[in-house]
Structure formats: structure tokens, C-alpha cells
Subunit: 145 residues, 10 copies
């Protein structure tokens, strides 16, 4: 009855707009709160990188539902692990947009192949540390949104 | 002649009231002091999560007696380990009620499946870290009681 | 550019018949051979437990396609790990049906909660060792099919 | 949803007879088969040492019920651990009586304080290895019963 | 030619008085300084718990001599280990009496079965950490003597 | 003054023929024997995978010279590690051609993304184990050449 | 309530004869059987090396009594450790005399400074492995006595 | 799809001048930015020590190109490892010249055979720690350039 | 081409005077600087304890030369290990005389058998930690010279 | 009072003949037997590689004496370690000459830079494993002498 973490990457469809993100966020928050799922969704350069935390049952149901969303394609798992505690317990879901801010681009480069956000080139550990470092930047109020 | 720790979860019977908790506490303190048992009892959403520390003999006698108490059912062990030192040496028994305070709910969620207190979904390590973090909140004077 | 292993469990729809399994197998073998995916599918008591091995890209595409198959529901991930080598390199896909044979039931019980095949109660390690032990029984020619 | 193992020791009441053991065995086997509990019960010098394997829920319910049995007293936990697989998957419950056979007494002495069966002096690891070695002796057909 | 640490517990004879302790201390200091033995002796509730550090030869000679002292009985070893450095290098021997001060009783309870000083229930590690924590309390000037 | 191992992959130019391989082999053997370099070169599906063992100086000089050879392109390092002993001490250089033999294709698939020899998809450990397993097949006389 | 092992070395007084050894052995066997102590005593070149196994209480009482025996001097502890099981469970006490047999002298030299039996130069691990190897030689019937 | 680090050492040709370094730097920065390669180049006593970070493909292509540059010879690999994150993410390429400043010479000596910069005598770990310590000195503004 | 550390102890001849130490120091500094050897020499109670760091070749040549010096006898190695970095990089050679200062005697006692400087009773780790702690005292300016 | 192992390499003077080896051997055997030193000396291509085992005192005295022998120069330590038991307990000293036999040359190459015996290029571990493998070849009677 352990907790699990699932991280995946996917590609946004062309023409995805800001209000789509808002809608995704609101729907996620509602569903996740009911299911005890927490996490974070980063978005940049037409790519999504999302982490989900919760019971194995809940995050798998959430992931199965996410896969059906027509606003993204090419979903690929990056990490699926048993965890001792949640890292994102305060967020039912949080969306962070990755701007061209230098600090953001340096964090992207630190954990992947290029400055362009291509989380597909990350390992599980790299994606997790990327998400943690971006979150830290956000909490310091040093991230443009 | 080592020290042991036992953690269990159980379900309170319907209608359990505040004065029941007080009575449980007082009786526990008296029995435990005599037997060298220390620990903590957290209570919320009709569930108990209790940790007992002491000699193997003493905590097993205590647990056997607790199982007979008609005020709870469905007792289930979560952790039973040899330990190097007690974490709750200053308390013969302490009762902490889990309110709907946001900090408390976040700690619950951090270590279990939902915000509702369901310690049955915790592993041994998660229940121990939950109890430590709740205790820390209490000692900082930041916990509503 | 490592290899990955993905294990999931799902529930067969009511009325699934032997010819469905054959069809699943044949389609899987064709798709997997093209994509470099290897693995095994065990089936019993209306539950599937399947392991997929290959590049991260290939097994995720395969899993995404599997999720859309209407012949099963409640798919849940059990394991997703980077691996050093494939365990099932000789099978593009193999289907093993779990009969009521005593040896089979003992292996099920050894790694899960009951004799009824409920892989949902397995951890990642348990499901992997279960699949290995069942495969070994099959290779010894000691498994009824 | 892991598997757990629970080992406890207890003292038989005075006058416990062979037919009591048979009755305990038969009842255990029936209950355990239903609940997916497996294990072994060793008995000697008026002491019981029993191991239970299964889901956390099932072995705790079993243990709670065992504690109420008036035919033994002073039950004390020796081991409670998450396990990867069952060691006693082939036995819903097996009772092994410890005779004064030299091989049996040597195994008792190897893991405890004296030749008299006093499992209360064992650690968790010692009790588990004792049960395994006694089982091995039994399977070799070298144990008097 | 390594350094060793020896810890033992023993029971003071009835009627042991303060001047006996002083005499023990003075004789120990004289002998130990000559032999390169350092350490500490804690005394409370009629029990001694003493640690000796030095060459294997020197601490064994010291221990053999201590065993002959008629002022205590039931000496029992708790720890005998090779060490990288001395923890009590500044004391040829130091006697610390354990009062009923709350801080002292909490440290006793943290590492043993009851608040009464019964070092016989300690493991080697627990006795060492007890002695360190008591020493720390003494150095902070927070210990009644 | 340790030993090192270097493994790289590269792409053969179009039209590379058997006599080119022979020539590469003969030249390598001559150079390597002088420099104390040992190793093995596997070739299949227009790809090379080669391991070099020796002093750091010697294998780097060898690799630098290999890079200039116009018969291959896109050289990429896969492993460069300090080693305790050579695995290929009996070969100054050995060329093994990978046929379409089923055993060979299974070993390729076991350690890489597809049955086509694409060592570029291997990690350092996978390439090393691939080379060891292919060598073992060769020594058993079970490899078509 | 673990098991412990104690190993010590001491020097026999001048003129110790074979019948002294027999007497020591008989008395030890009687005392040890009662106390649940097992072990072995090796004797050679006027030195004793003895291992005792049992409860901490029992082996310390035994050691305290041994120290008072006037037939040896300069007793020095070599090992005192918690153990998982006894190595000498079949012997209440066994005396093995170390002759000048070449196999015996080689085992002595393998674990100490010279061919002369000087266990005082052994570490705890060396003395244990020496005793095990001598015992093995004895069980093979290859040791002169 | 992990990140890799490659460190090599090489010897500058006689007569290499400051403007050559500038040219190397500018060309590297341009190429590396495009390829997602980051790193640092230290130069002193006619020796280069350079670290490259990025995808395996990108740093190997970069290294292959570097080997062809006629301004250095005797290139030798020192480290090639998979890494979790880049250490030099903020630099597409940085050139640091090693002066005779005492702090610089002490860092050289700390990790190699002499005060003269001879990185050829470094192991992979030593070269990495050297580069990190030199970088730290530079960031503190305490390095002459 | 790693770095090594060598520590040895030796006995000064009778009548060694302060100017001998100065001469040893000056000669060492000159030789060591040329050879890339760094280290420290502690002297007290007619004993030397010296650490040498550098290439294996250089510290062995230095040690071979030191052995021929008639001002000391009974040289004995205490430590010879591969190291990642030098601890004494700032000293070609430093001589520290060990006075009767209490802090110095406490450090001696902490790592050896008696207050008299007898490094011959130290293990490799103890001698290294002794030298580090003495150096730290010196750098704090708290050491009498 | 542990055991130690010392391995060194040195260069034989020009013109060293077979009878010199015999003389070295005989003198070594005599001295070593008295001092409790065991070991092996391999000789080939004008290089010596020797291992010494015994008390720290004894092997250092032996090494100091060896260094003064005019029949070799450039002695360099390769390994100096505390050991649990001797590997060469049956030999006071054994001389093995390394011929051009293919098996011997392969073992040399397996652990060093070239087929020519240059133990100076070995690490401590490589030299130890080389000596063990050569000894094994000798014991199988498969080594030309």
C-alpha cells in the first residue's frame, strides 16, 4: 500500500494555447484532489513533463485518462517508482511554463541534451531533479510566469 | 535485551468521544510508566495510529491488552523493529488529535494515499516519519489541539 | 539509450475466449518483432499480467496501444525499470495460461495474497519473479497448457 | 500490497494434549486457506513458535484471533517484516512437534540459550533460521514425529 | 596494535558509600595513567556501567583486576571492540553519579528498558551512546553531582 | 599505471568487403602486439563494435589512429574504464563477423533495441556483456564464421 | 536476548599436565551443559585459546569463573560479539591439543605471527577462523591427538 | 539518452600563442552551443586539460573534431562517464589559463605528481576535482588571468 | 598514474639535536620539491612519524634514501595507500616537534597506547588522523614549537 | 597485532645468474623461517616481484634488509596492507622463474601493460592476482621451471 511516483513526457499538439493549459490545470486539480493525486506539470517548447504522486491505483487511473487527451501525443514514461513520501504534497496539480529566462534555460541544459526543452532526452533521475530545481526557483519567486 | 518499536493502526468505534481519549491516555500513562513503555497515539477521522517503545516483553503485553479494548477494532500491525534508542522517551503516552488544520492535512497527504487520515495505507517507514513530523509540529507549538 | 522493462496488470472483460488470446498473441508478435519488443503475457482468473522489454520509446508506444484494446480494463503499472539485458529475448510475445495445476497455484501463492491469480497484489519484484518462475516451469515442460 | 511475515512465541497452558494440536491445526488450515495465510507451528517443552505469511491484513487478523485462544498465554512477537516471497507457500499450516531427538535439540541449541526449547530467547532472525532448519530436517524425512 | 574499548556492567554490594566511590576513582586514576587506560564509570541505582579504553593488553589486565574487587558482583561484558580513537582521552577515569534529575532519567530511559538504571538491559551500542550522552550533559554543566 | 578498456562503435563505409576486414585485422594485430593492446572487433549490419585493452597511453594512441581510418565513420565511445585485468588477453585482435545465425541474433537482441546489430543503442555495460557472450559462443565452436 | 561469542587467550602455568586438561574439560562440560554454554579449547606451546558461546549472562559467568582458575595467567580477551547462531553447538566443551603435525603448524602460521602457537598475536577474526579450520581438520579425522 | 562527460589531456604544439587560445575558444563556443556541449579548457605549461559534457553523440563528435586540430598532439582520454547532471552548464566553453600564482600551483600539486601542470599523471577523479577546484577559484575572483 | 601516501615510524639515535632536525628538514625540502613529494615529519620522545605524498616512484625513492640515514633506526611502515588528493600539498616538508603541552599529549593518547609518543602502536588510520589533528592544532596557532 | 602483506618490484642488476637466485632463496628461507615471514619471489625479464607476509615488524625488517642487497636496484612498493590470513603460509620463500611459456606470458599480459614482465606497471591488486595465478599454475604442475 505504498506511494508511487510516475513521470512522463509528451508532445503538445500544434496550436495549444494558454487557455488550454488553464483548463487542463483546473480539471486536473479537481480530479486529483478527489483521488489523492499530487504533482506538477512543466510546459515549454511544445513539450510536457509531468510528475504524478499517489497510490499506484490512483496515478495509473490518472495516467490512463491523460493518455486519451487529444491535446498531446507521443506520451512516454520516464520514471515509475515506489516512494517514501510525496515531494509535491502541497499541489493537487501545478502548471509551470518554462520561459526563455536564462536561469530556466540553464536548469534545462543542466539535465538534458540541449537548451531547448527536450525532456525526452532525460533519465528518470534527471527529470525528477529538473522538476525539483524548477520548483525551487518558483518558490524563491525568481521564475517568470 | 534490545529495545523494540511497535506501530499499529486501528479503527475507533462509532461515537468515540473526547473523554474516551482522555481516559485512554490516563490509563496508558499509568500502565506504561510502570512497564517502561513510551510512545504516542495520534487520532483522526475515526482512526488510531499508535507507536509503542520499550522491551519486547513490555510492548507485546501492552499491545495484547490494547487489542482487547472494545473502543477500537481492526487493529493491524504496521511496524515491529529492534531500535537503538527511543524516539518518544519523554512521553509515557501522548495523545495528539489530528484537526483539519492545513499543515496537519499536508503531513497526512505527504505520507499516505489521501488527505483523510488513513494510516492503513502507510508502510512502516511512512507511519514512523508521519509520527515524527506531527510531533515536531506539536513541539513548535504550531499544532491546534 | 538503455533498455527498459514495463510490467502491468489488467482485467479481462467478461467472456474473453481462447481465440481472443490467440489473436492478441499473433498481433503482438507481429508488432513487437518490428519494434524490437520482447516479453510474455500470463493469463488466469480473468487477469492479465504482461511484461514488455525494449527501448523506452518502443515499450511505451506498445503500452499506449495496449491500453486502447477494449478486451481488458483497469490496466495498472507494476514495474518500469531500466535493465541491463532482456530476460525474454527469445519471445516476441508468449502467452501462458495459468491452469489450476498445483505447481502453478503454489507459484501464484508464493508471490501474492491468495491462490487466485491477483497480480494486483504483487510488487514489481514479486511480479518479475513470478513471471520468471512460471517461465522456468514452462521450459521444463512441466506446465499444462 | 506487499507480503508480510509474522513470527510469535507463546506458552501452552498446562495439560495441552495431542488432540488439541490436531484441532488447532485443522482449524488453522481451514481459516488460513480462505485468507491466503501460509506458515508453520513448532511445539515443544510447552512453548509454541509460529510463523504466518500473507497480506498484512490477513496475518494481522489471524494473529488477533490466535491471541484470543485460551490454550496459550504470554504471546510475544519476534518478527514482523515485509517479504519478497513466502517460505512456506506449500503449507496452509503445518504442525511440527519437537521431540528429544538429538538433531532437533542441536538445532534448538544452535539458535537459542539452552537445549530446552525457549524461543523467547531468540531474535527474529534466529527464529526464522530455526524454523527453516527444522523444516529442512522434516523434508529429509529425518525428523521423528 | 590497535586500540580497544571494553564496557561492562556490575552490581554494587549493599551499603556502598560515597567514600568507596572516591577511593575507587583515585586508585583507578593512578593505575590507569600508568597503563594508558582511559574511561568513565557511571553509578546509579546500585549498578555500575564502566567503559575502558586502551591497548588490548592494558584494558584486559585492568578488567581482570576489577573483577576481583569485592565491592561489586555479577560483572557482565556489554561491549569489546577495536576502535579508531578514544572517546574519553581526557579522563584517566571519571566517576559520574546518576541522580534522579529528570534529564538523567530521560537519557536512561532512552537507551534501556526502564527509568531505573538497569544497564544490563542495554546492548553495546546503547551503553556507549548512553555514556556519551551523559558525558555531554556533564560537560554542559547541566548535571547534578 | 593501471589498465584501461575502451569500447567504441562506428559505421562501416558502403562497400566494405571481407578482404578489408582481413587487412584491418592483420594490421591491428601487428600494431597491438607491439603496444601491448588486446581486444576484439565485432562486425555486422555495417556496424563495428570494438574493445581495446591496455595501458591508457597505448589504447588512446590506438584509438586516435583508428579514427583516421577512412573505412568507417561516426565513431562513438561507449565505454572507457579502469580495469583490474584484461578479458581478451589471448587476442592481439580478433575479428568476429555477426551472421544471421539465430543464436547470434538472440544475443544482439538481448543487449540492444532490435535484432539488427545497432550497438549505438547499447550502454557500456551492455556492449561489454554482448562482446563477452559472443566470445563465449565462439569459443564453444557454436558460431558460424 | 541474543547469543554471544567470547574468545580469550591465556598462558598455562609451568608444569601443566595432560590430566589437568582432562579435568578442565570434564568440569567445563558439566558446568556448560547446565548453563547452555558451548565451545572449544585449543592448547599448544603453553597457551590456551578458548571460544565460549551462549547467552551474554552465561558466557560472562563462565569467563569470570575461568579467570579464577590458578592453572593459567595473563588471560586476554580477543573477541566478544553478538552472533546469529552457534558454530560449536555440538560441543559443551571440546579440548584439542595442537601437536607439531605439519598441517597444524601451517594453520597456526596462516593466522598468526609465527609457527609457535601465539594466539596473543591474533585478531578476533583470525582466532575465530583458526578455531574453525582446526575444528575442520579434526572432523576430517586428519588431526593427531 | 543519458548525459556523458569526457575529459582528455593533450600537448600544445610549440609556439602556441594567446590568440590561438582565443580562436579555439570562439570556435568551440559556437560549435558547442549548437550541439548542446558544455565544458571547460584549462591550459598551462604547454598542456591542455579539457572537459566536455553533453549527449554521448555530441561529445564524441566534438572530440573527434578536436583530435584533428593540428595545434595539439598526444591527446589521451582521462575520463568518460555517464553523469546525472552537468557541472559546467553555464559555459559553452570557458578557457582558463594556469598562471604561476601560488594558489593555482597548490591545486595542481594537490591532484598530480608535480607543480608543473602534467595532467597526464592524473586519474579521472583527480582531473575532475582539479577542474572543479580551479573553477571555484575563478568564481571567487581569486584567479589571475 | 595515481598518487600515493606512505607513512612510517622510526627511532631517532641517541643524542639527536635540534640542528639535526633543521638539517633534515632543509635537505628534505630541497629533494622533495624537485621530486614532487609533499608531507610532514612529527618528532617526539625520540620517535619519528613521517608522511610522504607523491607519485609511487617518487615516494619510494625518497623512502629508500631515508632508510639509509644513520640518524634513525628501526623504520617500520604504517601506511601505504593510493590517494585521491594530497593532504599536505602546501608543505614540501614540515617538521613539527611534539612538546609536553597538554593538548599535544591528549592527541597522542587519543590515537595510541600511552601519552608517551609511541607511533609504533598506531594503525595506518590512527597515524593519519593523528597527523591531521596535530596539523590542525598547528594551523590554529595553538601549538608550542 | 595484525598480519600484513608487502609487495614490491625491483630491477635485477645486469648479469644476475641462476646461482644468485638459489643463494637469495636459501638465505631468505633461513631468515624468514626465524622471523615468521612467508612469501614468494617471481623473477623474469630482469625484474623481481616479491610478496612478504608476517607481522608488521618482521616484514619491515625483512624489506629494509632486502633494500640493501646490491643485486637489485629501483625497489618500489606496490602493496602494503593488513590481511586476515596469509596466502603463502606453506612457503618461507619460494622462487618462481618466469619463462617464455605461452601460459606464463598470457598471465603477465592479463595483469600488466605488455607481455614483457614489467610489474612496475601493476597496481597492488594486479600484482597480488598475478602472483596467485602464477602460483596456481605452478601447483598444477603446468609451469616450466
Amino acid at each position: 500500500m505504498a506511494l508511487y511516483r510516475l513521470i512522463y513526457v509528451s508532445q503538445a499538439i500544434a496550436g495549444l494555447e494558454y487557455r488550454d493549459l488553464i483548463e487542463i490545470l483546473q480539471k486536473s486539480e479537481f480530479n486529483n484532489r478527489r483521488a489523492g493525486v499530487t504533482g506538477m506539470l512543466s510546459f515549454g517548447d511544445s513539450m510536457f513533463l509531468q510528475v504524478l504522486e499517489g497510490s499506484r491505483r490512483a496515478i495509473c487511473e490518472t495516467y490512463n485518462r491523460i493518455l486519451l487527451d487529444p491535446r498531446h501525443t507521443h506520451a512516454e514514461l520516464i520514471d515509475f517508482s515506489e516512494i517514501d513520501h510525496r515531494d509535491f504534497a502541497i499541489w493537487s496539480m501545478k502548471v509551470l511554463q518554462l520561459s526563455n529566462q536564462e536561469e530556466v534555460r540553464n536548469i534545462i541544459l543542466k539535465y538534458s541534451h540541449t537548451e531547448t526543452f527536450s525532456p525526452i532526452s532525460m533519465t528518470g533521475l534527471q527529470s525528477l531533479n529538473f522538476l525539483r530545481e524548477i520548483t525551487e526557483l518558483y518558490h524563491k519567486g525568481a521564475m517568470d510566469q
